[in-house]
Amino acid sequence: MAETTPKNILEAVQVRKEFGGLIAVNDVDFVIPKGSIVSLIGPNGAGKTTFFNILTGVYKPTSGGVIFDGTPISGLPPHKVTALGMARTFQNIRLFHNMTALENVLVAMHSRIKGGVWRSILRTPGLKKEEEESRERARELLRFSGLPGRDDAYAKNLSYGDQRRLEVARALASGPSLLLLDEPTAGMNPEETANFTDFVAELRAEHDITVLLIEHDMRVVMGISDRVTVLDYGEKIAEGAPKEVQHDERVIEAYLGTAATA
């Protein structure tokens, strides 16, 4: 397989996914340049989430391959992909509801924490130190993600917006170089959405994280994306800078004009 060029953090080559007779993703080529914010848009059922699931290892592509940071990852289980530095959030929030905010974040540090079972039982000094450091880092992440003082709240008791923030905090805890956000502003009010958009921009600017975004809110997409890829019926119908895509006829057709009015 070809190596990724250093400027692309992720390259998907001719990715195809079939469910029985249904072609959910049809030979899509896709790249994410390092340090960019790329959006994936398309009407409902266009195959965006399926494509996401292929990138993160939940699905194995029927054909084609994905190279992440120089490593072929198609066929790897999700936890290995995460360990390589790709993290995600879910469209319908999938927090560990009966764990506290802090514990949620700690779980995501799983692949970064070394302490094994035997050392945990003996609670060696090294392990104690590591555990303390992880907790400190988790608290820091919660503060950074806009959840100060909510460390010990059960995830399910957080407000909707806070649950979204916790999902991001949790994804960040795994130490990603690429962050995949699946409709992060769904259900947010305009103010929350604006705050979130700033937050994503800050992530890239200050933490060097590349972002792939699935989003329906065109203000978000047009506001922060460097590139936009449009899927429709599993096929890539347009790709380019937000302005270009916005005026692409096929895109307008796919959206029945909603993109133009957004």
């Binding site: 993160t56 936890h79 290995k80 995600r88 319908n92 009966n98 764990m99 779980v107 692949s111």
Partner: protein, 421 residues
């Protein structure tokens, strides 16, 4: 949407926020002011447990515990073994949320390990290692303590072998497959007297004349005669102390793992497998660890139990044991160590003595026939108990705070994330 919900004010005043919870809350406050309680109370409980032979079996309170409740040294031993089993199963069911209906398989395997490495089964061999038998017997005779460790190791290995293909299944499917294994393993032992011409289990005749724990002459003398050379069937206290010590180790491991990286991963897997794996938790490894650790404690308990009753038969390890241990975990409160211990003590007492005693009390009531035996309805009673618990207190007698939250969730918060999906 749900902004009004805060962790301090549970949305639904669930049935569990009863007196026990308010006691717990005030106890927590009290404990925060008096730090020594954090280790003082467990220490006192351990002391009470170890000193039971002096205040419960005989002495001032014997008329309540030994005579009244029927907790004699035999029952005491059995209860302790079951507490250990329940604590082992708690790792699998309570922490990792894997419904295992075949836990008895590891109990049996632990006992048979003692049969292999501490009896005269392999008569033509003559292997000895620090065993404490009075005379040099034929067969393999390793030190009992080595055998216990071996039982743990073999059970862990078996756990991994059984878990490897089956833990990919979820929920009900896993329950059914583990149920199958619980049935198959005793059958393998029953038919294991002629495996390619080798007698590995002595079949239905079972294994008898098993080695007993002991410390040998040298440690006996060095300890001033406190540690026995070898345990006997007349003096039961050392047996009890041995299981109690093992139980403490089990509790210790339970506690340490609960608050570790692995413990968090177990709960995460229980909550949402897909999210857990997306966060970097390897599903198979995590589940296998839970299964293997549960198996280790089952093996420990099996080896001691086999030695105590001095006979291992395929029929001793029935499905009933899996169910009873599971009932202990559920009734006590899944995931809460103190709840599981309380549940195990209650159910095992009922199982070994309590029902007989209660039957006797009822028979003593004037006008009730003498041959009324409540123990005959044992499983009916346990079944009813389980149903009643599920209806009125599904989180168990002493639930973990997390589990309590989980069960409260159906009552007011389900829509919070279900309707949106």
């Amino acid at each position: 949407m749900s902004d009004q919900a805060s962790p301090e004010t549970p949305k639904a005043p669930s049935r569990s926020s009863s007196t026990l919870s308010s006691w717990r809350a005030s106890y927590r406050r009290y404990r925060n002011e008096h730090k020594w309680l954090g280790w003082g109370i467990p220490l006192a409980v351990v002391f009470l447990a170890f000193s039971y032979p002096w205040w419960g079996l005989e002495g001032p309170l014997a008329f309540v515990f030994n005579d009244g409740l029927g907790i004699d040294s035999d029952t005491l031993f059995n209860m302790s073994v079951y507490v250990m089993l329940a604590l082992g199963l708690n790792v699998v069911v309570g922490y990792a949320g894997l419904l295992d209906l075949g836990y008895v398989a590891f109990f049996a395997l632990g006992a048979y390990t003692l049969g292999w490495f501490g009896s005269g089964l392999f008569t033509n061999l003559d292997w000895h290692f620090l065993d404490t038998n009075a005379s040099r017997l034929p067969g393999i005779h390793l030190s009992f303590w080595v055998v216990v460790l071996l039982a743990g190791a073999i059970c862990a290995l078996a756990g991994v072998l059984i878990g490897w293909p089956t833990l990919r299944l979820r929920g009900d499917y896993l329950a059914i497959v583990t149920l199958g294994f619980g049935e198959i393993i005793p059958d393998v032992f029953r038919n294991g007297d002629d495996i390619a011409g080798h007698n590995l289990t002595n079949g239905v005749r079972g294994l008898t004349l098993l080695d007993r724990p002991g410390f040998g002459e040298r440690i006996h003398d060095a300890s001033g005669g406190i540690l026995p050379v070898r345990y006997t069937s007349l003096e039961l206290r050392p047996w009890y102390f041995t299981v109690l010590a093992m139980m403490l180790i089990t509790i210790f491991v339970n506690l340490r793992l609960r608050d570790s990286k692995m413990g968090r991963a177990w709960i995460a897997v229980r909550e949402d497998e897909i999210a857990a794996s997306a966060m970097g938790v390897p599903l198979m490894r995590t589940k296998l660890w839970a299964y293997a650790i549960g198996a280790i404690f089952g093996g420990f308990a099996g080896a001691v139990y086999g030695s105590f009753i001095n006979g291992i038969f395929p029929t001793s390890f029935s499905f009933q044991i899996s169910v009873i241990v599971l009932v202990m975990v559920i009734v006590g409160g899944m995931g809460n160590i103190w709840g599981v211990i309380a549940g195990a003590m209650l159910i095992s007492w009922l199982n070994f003595r309590g029902l007989d005693k209660i039957g006797a009390w009822i028979s003593d009531v004037p006008g009730v026939s003498n041959d009324f035996s409540i123990a005959k309805y044992k499983f009916g009673i346990f079944g009813a108990l389980l149903v009643i618990m599920m209806l009125f207190r599904p989180e168990g007698l002493i639930p973990s705070t997390r589990r309590k939250a989980e069960f409260a969730e159906g009552e007011g918060q389900a829509t919070l994330y279900d309707a949106r999906a």
